[in-house]
């Protein structure tokens, strides 16, 4: 069983597993949406004292913070127990494109040329990591949800606003990848 789980999962198994998480949270009386935690963390840091948007009872989101803590631990367990011996099966064309941009493929989950402290504190690194994160945080709250809340929960519930948001996610992603990326990297 562990050997089976260790292999990279095919897309249909992965998609089914994500639906399972969404249904599980519905069964627990909650709604799958991860980015709400970012707002709750701001509230916990004291942002509610000065700004109305953060002034809410964070205990209503306690379940989601626990889910978040579980997610960190799940990441740890995957690395400790379920790591595959194979390299990531990335498309050869993507490997070639990224090589041209100076991001070599190292076979891991994320490029070590980007996710290291030396790069992180370089100007390019701060734009990529801090700047990227900033847009993710601002955008997900502005749109009222991220990939889990809109693309998975919202589209599954046939919500038109979620379709607008997902169109926005993709338009932004394509713009970054094809227009801004070559300027940054």
């Amino acid at each position: 069983m562990i050997e089976l789980l260790k292999q990279p999962w095919p897309w249909y198994a992965s998609g089914t597993a994500i639906t399972f998480i969404m249904v599980l949270l519905l069964y627990f009386g909650k709604s799958f949406g991860f980015s709400s935690n970012l707002r709750t963390l701001c509230t916990l840091a004291g942002a509610g004292k000065t700004h109305h948007f953060f002034d809410f009872n964070w205990r209503t989101q306690r379940w989601n913070l626990l889910f978040m803590a579980g997610a960190v631990f799940g990441g740890y367990l995957s690395a400790a127990w379920l790591k595959s011996d194979q390299l990531l099966q990335l498309a050869p064309s993507t490997i070639a494109d990224l090589q041209t941009l100076g991001v070599p493929f190292d076979g891991g989950l994320n490029p070590s040329s980007i996710f290291n402290w030396h790069f992180a504190f370089s100007p390019k690194g701060l734009v990529t990591l801090l700047g990227g994160g900033l847009m993710i945080g601002f955008g997900s709250r502005y749109a009222g949800g991220c990939t889990s809340g809109h693309a998975i929960s919202g589209l599954s519930n046939l919500q038109l606003p979620s379709l607008w948001a997902v169109i926005g996610f993709f338009a932004g992603g394509l713009m970054m990848t094809h227009v801004f990326f070559p300027l940054i990297f």
Partner: protein, 137 residues
């Protein structure tokens, strides 16, 4: 101990994000370059099955764990906030290569520099909170 089930759900979510490779910076790039079906297959399967599941929950009036009817939050009817917010999110998603869940999953997996992406995301959320009233919704 009511919270334990959410920790367990979170652990499962973390494992799924890693093993599906949805938490991979490389896979996000591959998706936005249309060079593999992988991510589209994952999202497509999740939404397709999710739609069937939600349809059945509504049709069969299934109750939750506590015996309460399962309610679905309706998204506010509007479009500027979804399109503009979505666009900004997408720019960040392709750049940092992680959406909010996978940022935290990767931190546990062994990418400590993800903390910078998380700090950026908290700062972005804070900036939205203080500029909210000036933005078109």
């Amino acid at each position: 101990m009511k919270g334990v089930k959410f920790v367990i759900a979170g652990i499962l979510f973390g494992v799924i994000m890693v093993k599906s490779e949805a938490a991979s910076w490389y896979r996000i790039q591959e998706m936005f370059r249309f060079q593999s079906f992988h991510m589209y297959g994952i999202i497509g399967t999740a939404v397709g099955l999710g739609a069937i599941a939600i349809f059945l929950i509504k049709k069969l009036e299934i109750n939750d764990f506590y015996g309460h009817p399962i309610v679905f939050p309706h998204k506010e009817k509007s479009w500027p906030k979804y399109i503009l917010g979505g666009l900004i999110f997408g720019l960040g998603w392709a750049l940092a290569g992680a959406c909010p869940g996978p940022m935290f999953v990767n931190l546990g997996y062994g990418y400590p520099t993800m903390i910078i992406v998380i700090l950026g995301a908290l700062l972005g959320t804070y900036l939205y909170g203080i500029t909210k009233n000036k933005l078109p919704h």
